[in-house]
Amino acid sequence: MGSLITTRGLTKRYGQVLALSGVDLKVPKGATGLLGPNGAGKSTLIRSLIGLVTPDSGRGRIFGKDISSMGLDIRRRIGYMPEHDCLVQDMSAVEMVAYAGLLSGMSRGAAVQRAHEVLHFVGMDDERYRDIETYSSGMRQKVNLAQALVHDPELLFLDEPTSGLDPKGRVEMLELFRFLSHEQGKSLLLSTHILPDVEYVCDNLIVLADGKVLLQGDIEEQLRGETGVVNVRIEGDRDAFRRALDGRGYTVEDDGYIIRVVRMGGETDPEDIFSDVVRSASDTGVQVRYASRTARNLEDLFMELVEERGEVG
């Protein structure tokens, strides 16, 4: 599958601050999470891609078109949901979204009709006729999404879309993203520092820190090697059971209720761990009441990557 977005050596500096440092990317179609701590350069990367800022060096292509010379063509096919509230306060949601449609090239009639459709889609009912300055943060974010969607773009750039939302608003927003990606086939580049958001919506992952790409790829693949942990609950001699597993090369952590059995060093077939657990239980005469494989989540992966670079939040 060809890449939707590619960059090579993308660099952007603000004074003494190096926001992007030779970023090389290959972003496939689908939902991609752009993860990174605050100040990692996520927003700068998105703004560079869609032409809101001009990179100091490097090249980039979206839909196979060069971002520096074919920005207008690219921007006909993308939607951008900015991080900050960028809406015109003395417009109603319908006016704002319709205006965004006009600026995307829609006729006035089509823009107004489409504005109603997308506002309805994001859950704005009668309140869509009120001025935006009267809206809550959640409503503003919905309008923000609607203006990005009004012209039905192929690719959506979502910059911190759930920041500032209450739990219910966040769930609604993520559900919309997931629907757009999985049901409507749109590609997303979701920039956030909230790991569960990426985990819920995205299939692919880019980790950015200090303006550099630390990791990119399929999320399932990235987490596949992190399955060497099994949680066990037993009845019987816990010390003997731990010693038996130690003897088979496992690291055992016992909190008095659950015993965490970890195979250190490289990939391990979970079935092998289960076999060793059963054999150790048999050898020590304990009864296994519960055994479950646990996976390391994105947070584990992210923290490992960041800590390796000495970067913490």
């Binding site: 703004r47 993308i78 417009m91 995307s104 569960p196 987490l223």
Partner: protein, 560 residues
């Protein structure tokens, strides 16, 4: 992979994923985007309550009120012209009376050594109160020694002149006494009573027993003719004063009455027509009017006015008696050709004291609208970071600037070009100058648009420049207003203190006024100074402001 959250398991979420429909339409090109965005921004501006209020006030003061006053003023203008023309042509009028022998409205036959008393009325037929000065204008007699004086009824005070203070529409009575010289057996005296309006704007009518249209009244007193002629008749114009546009025709109804004691046949014709004028008499059958004593007949006279006629004209209808060839009667009409000179109509709109593009009130409305609509245009985008949303669309920064210029310019046109075009059209309709005038003065439409565009360009550029330099709309608006008045004060100092007329070139207001006067070619301003410099000033301000806007917008980046 374990899901980090389960959106379906918690509170009910109000989302409508089943309601999303992909859009299948086509997206337009950039020029359409710009035009549509201008239209949308313009409509958005018009929904602002302050914008609506200013536009409404501007239309009241620059269209409705001027139309009402100009309408009144034009009617007055026509009346004044009539009065002035009559006064100027008074001698000509009198000579016409002599030449055609008409207008001897009042004739009295007296015995030798006796006196004739004419009962005369003076009427203020104008629309304003007036003081009317009545006097004996001329005495012509075949013998010397006639005594002539004026007096009020019942008064023994004889005088050569009388003054009457009359409200509009009121009249007053006085007497003209004519005494024959002692011992005169036969003879006559023609006495003409003159009248002048102090206001010089009211139409004065003098008449004595018969309807008169003149500013003067002629009388004839005859001594020695004791037996009245059996033949006598009168011709009266029912609308003795009329107006007509050049190239059109006017019809005036008349009545001819046999006031003698014998039947008579009359021939009626027009006389005294200016060059190019044509006339026709209708309602007289084969041309000869046969009337019994006391009988009357209505007929009409149509005058066709050539295209190039421009002035007030006197025309006469003359009747001749068949039975007594020396007997004549007739009417004199004053016909105003209402082709208002160019300078008057354009000046009324453009350079009038409180109307038109150059008026201070008009400029204030435009300035305040620019302060509201223009000053927020970019400042609010900067403050709200709305340009982030705009520039993520298929438009460039030049497109953005064009949209802002178009939006503010279209809004300002609501208080500049549009009302002025309407005011001009309204004035033309009210003045009844007709379609030919529209054709002949097509350049005025272009001048209105040109001058309006000049104002729009300079105020749009300036307001957007201030707007691009701040994120506070009120700061931008304040800057615009201060710049406007500051340049005015500076120009006033240069002109009044240093006596340099060229100082007006530093003032936006003066430059707009003088450029307007220059474009329309009217003498409506006090400065004797080339307006080309003022146009240069306005264009320079616009260019510098536009460069400032382009510079600011081009370097705007999202660096947060």
């Amino acid at each position: 992979m374990t899901r980090a959250l389960d959106p379906r398991g918690g509170k009910e979420s109000r989302i409508y994923t089943d309601r999303y429909t992909p859009w299948k339409g086509e997206l337009g090109e950039r020029h359409w985007i710009v035009l549509r965005a201008i239209n949308d921004g313009f409509r958005h501006n018009l929904r602002n309550k302050w914008v609506k209020a200013i536009i409404a006030l501007a239309w009241v003061f620059t269209v409705v009120f001027p139309l009402l006053t100009a309408s009144f003023g034009m009617n007055q203008l026509i009346q004044d012209a009539d009065s002035a023309a009559r006064y100027e042509n008074y001698e000509e009028y009198l000579s016409e009376l002599d030449e055609y022998g008409i207008g001897y409205r009042m004739v009295k036959n007296i015995e030798p050594d006796s006196m004739a008393t004419f009962d005369v009325w003076v009427s203020n037929t104008g629309e304003r109160p007036d003081i009317i000065h009545v006097y004996i204008a001329d005495i012509r007699a075949d013998q010397p020694g006639w005594g002539v004086w004026l007096n009020l009824p019942g008064s023994m005070n004889a005088t050569g002149e009388l003054n009457f203070s009359l409200p509009a529409g009121e009249m007053a009575n006085f007497n003209l006494s004519v005494a024959a010289p002692p011992g005169l057996i036969t003879g006559y005296a023609d006495v003409i009573i003159g009248a002048e309006s102090e206001g010089a704007s009211s139409l004065v009518s003098l008449f004595g027993g018969e309807t008169g249209v003149s500013k003067g009244l002629a009388t004839r007193t005859i001594v020695g003719q004791t037996e009245a002629s059996p033949y006598h008749f009168t011709i009266t114009a029912l609308q003795p004063v009329g107006s007509v546009r050049a190239g059109d025709s006017i019809t005036i109804d008349h009545v001819i009455e046999n006031t003698g004691t014998e039947a008579d046949i009359y021939n009626v014709f027009t006389t005294g027509l200016p060059d190019g004028w044509r006339s026709s008499v209708d309602g007289t059958g084969d041309g000869a009017i046969d009337l019994e004593p006391g009988e009357s007949l209505n007929f009409s006279v149509t005058f066709r006015v050539p295209d190039d006629s421009i002035s007030t004209n006197y025309v006469s209808v003359l009747g001749l008696s068949t039975m007594d060839p020396s007997l004549t009667s007739g009417s004199v009409m004053i016909i105003k050709v209402t082709d208002i000179p160019d300078v008057d109509l354009t000046a009324e709109i453009i350079a009038g004291p409180n109307t038109g593009l150059a008026s201070s009130l008009f400029m204030l409305f435009t300035l305040f609208l620019a302060a509201i609509a223009g000053s927020k245009a970019i400042a609010m985008d900067l403050a709200q970071r709305s340009y982030t949303v705009y520039f993520a669309r298929p438009i460039g920064k030049m497109d953005y600037v064009a949209i802002k210029y178009g939006t503010v310019g279209a809004t300002l046109s609501m208080v500049t070009i549009l009302p002025l075009l309407c005011a001009y059209l309204g004035l033309i309709l009210l003045s009844s100058v007709g379609g030919q005038y529209l054709m002949d003065h097509a350049w005025v439409w272009g001048a209105i648009v040109l001058h309006g565009l000049l104002i729009i360009i300079v105020l749009t550029s300036l307001s957007l420049a201030f707007s691009s330099l701040t994120t506070r709309r009120f700061t931008a608006a304040f800057g615009l207003v201060v710049a406007y008045f500051m340049t005015f004060v500076m120009a006033s100092i240069i002109v009044n203190v240093f006596g340099e007329a060229g100082g007006t070139a530093v003032s936006i207001y003066d430059s707009v006024q003088l450029a307007g006067a220059g474009i329309f070619g009217v003498e409506g301003v006090d400065f004797d100074y080339s307006w080309g410099y003022n146009v240069l000033t306005l264009l320079s301000i616009s260019a510098i402001s536009t460069l400032a806007v382009l510079w600011k917008v081009s370097r705007t980046e999202l660096s947060e």
